[in-house]
């Protein structure tokens, strides 16, 4: 198989684009897709300060790498969740990337350790509040990324969600008719209320396989092991189903998610309507001032419970 652009030996075939690329042309393709996502969704400009949420996985490290190479001012935040050896390993990968690649671009890595604040890791916290581990993880990450973005005056927060993540989440929401979540499935969400940072997903045009290939080809040392807490999760099942469909019929995931975005953009959510909706239901948490629908946000409730139960 030869590269569609330069005709040399290809290293990856992309059936959904009916193309194949060599290493150089593939890097160009990935950078181009991210640049198109940033421009078409008005995510950020060259002067904006970006906070990238990194986990040590391929997507977030690839995102940080791409943004730095495209010349953006991108720092990162890593949240150590305290999942035994998995967290030790992912922390080491992030630190290594920051030292080897990011520092040379003048970027900074921020760290937050859950155990230092809560006195327990994510698994223990989840048991304490009787919620699934993945849901607890989501609450903590959302809170900490938003907190750092606001406190350190970042213009926008970027996550490594890719096409597979978004298509799988859309499938889950549609299967359960969770229409209330559909409005916020776009790749760019405005800072709708005071205390919320603008959030963007610059990788939404790239598949998980394309991002893994980018990481391998650019020698990005990421954590290949699956998070032990995610085993058997619904998201993984949806991804598996979508990948089977994609293999049989290339372009399925793209048509599904991009088609949804197109319909949504014609239907309603302008930034204004989303802002109006948020302002109607959100107000500052009485404990930490981050926006919440309740009097005290779920993060503060979780921490209060942890402080009463976990011996320090």
């Amino acid at each position: 198989m030869n590269c569609t652009k330069c005709k040399t030996k290809a290293v990856i075939g992309l059936p959904r684009h009916n193309a194949a690329f060599c290493r150089g042309c593939f890097n160009g393709f990935v950078h181009d897709q991210v640049a198109r996502a940033i421009k078409s969704e008005w995510m950020f400009g060259k002067e904006d300060r970006i906070l990238v949420a990194v986990s040590g996985g391929k997507d977030s490290l690839a995102l940080w790498d791409i943004l730095l190479k495209l010349g953006y001012r991108a720092d990162a935040l890593y949240v150590n969740l305290g999942i035994g050896a998995y967290s030790v390993q992912s922390h080491a990968k992030v630190t290594k990337f920051a030292e080897v690649v990011a520092v040379s671009h003048g970027a900074t890595l921020h760290l937050h350790t859950v155990e230092q604040e809560a006195g327990a890791g994510i698994k223990e916290l989840a048991q304490l509040i009787h919620r699934p581990t993945c849901s607890t993880c989501g609450t903590i990450k959302r809170y900490q990324f938003n907190r750092v973005a606001i406190e350190q005056h970042y213009d926008v927060m970027a996550t490594g969600h890719n096409l597979d993540d978004e298509a799988a989440r859309l499938l889950g929401n549609v299967l359960h008719w969770q229409e209330e979540y559909l409005d916020k499935q776009g790749p760019s969400l405005p800072a709708s209320v005071e205390g919320f940072a603008k959030k963007v997903k610059p990788l939404y045009r790239l598949s998980e396989r394309e991002l893994a290939a980018y990481a391998v080809l650019n020698r990005i040392d990421y954590i290949v092991e699956e998070c032990p807490m995610a085993k058997g999760s619904k998201m993984l099942q949806y991804k598996e189903v979508l990948n089977r469909l994609e293999t049989e019929s290339p372009g399925t995931k793209q048509t599904f998610y991009w088609g949804f975005l197109e319909k949504q953009s014609k239907k309603q959510p302008t930034a204004a309507t989303m802002t109006e909706k948020d302002r109607a239901v959100l107000h500052p948490c009485t404990s930490c001032s981050q926006p919440t629908t309740a009097e005290v946000c779920s993060y503060c409730k979780m921490m209060a419970r942890a402080k009463t139960v976990v011996p320090r």
Binding site: G13, F196, K234
Partner: protein, 108 residues
């Protein structure tokens, strides 16, 4: 002792023994062939596969979906039509990750 002294005095006769000139039985020859070493994850394990074989044939044989995996030969990423041979060191790396369906951007 007697055996040792025989071996020392008549080494050529020992190596010309007719048993050595016969071809090895099929089971033995197979054991010495350097098969393709395929490293898999989740759980981490190595399997041996007989080549030559195309990447897509190898994935099909192992019941793995192309869209969810990358195939790395040595240090290089390879396409689905690449031919893999006995002795090659192959890694099949899964690309799927993720947990919470609701790590979305709504308020907590």
């Amino acid at each position: 002792m007697r055996l040792l002294s025989r071996a020392r005095t008549k080494p050529t006769e020992f190596f010309r023994h007719p048993w050595m000139t016969r071809p090895l039985p099929p089971a033995c020859t197979e054991a010495y062939d350097p098969l393709m070493q395929v490293q898999l994850s989740h759980p981490a394990r190595t399997v041996e596969v007989k080549g030559p074989k195309k990447v897509k044939e190898l994935l099909r044989e192992l019941n793995l979906v192309v869209e969810a995996h990358l195939v790395i030969k040595g240090d290089d990423l390879v396409t689905e039509d690449e031919m893999l041979n006995d002795g090659d060191q192959i890694e099949i790396r899964p690309v799927i990750s993720g947990g919470s369906p609701h790590f979305t951007f709504h308020a907590s």
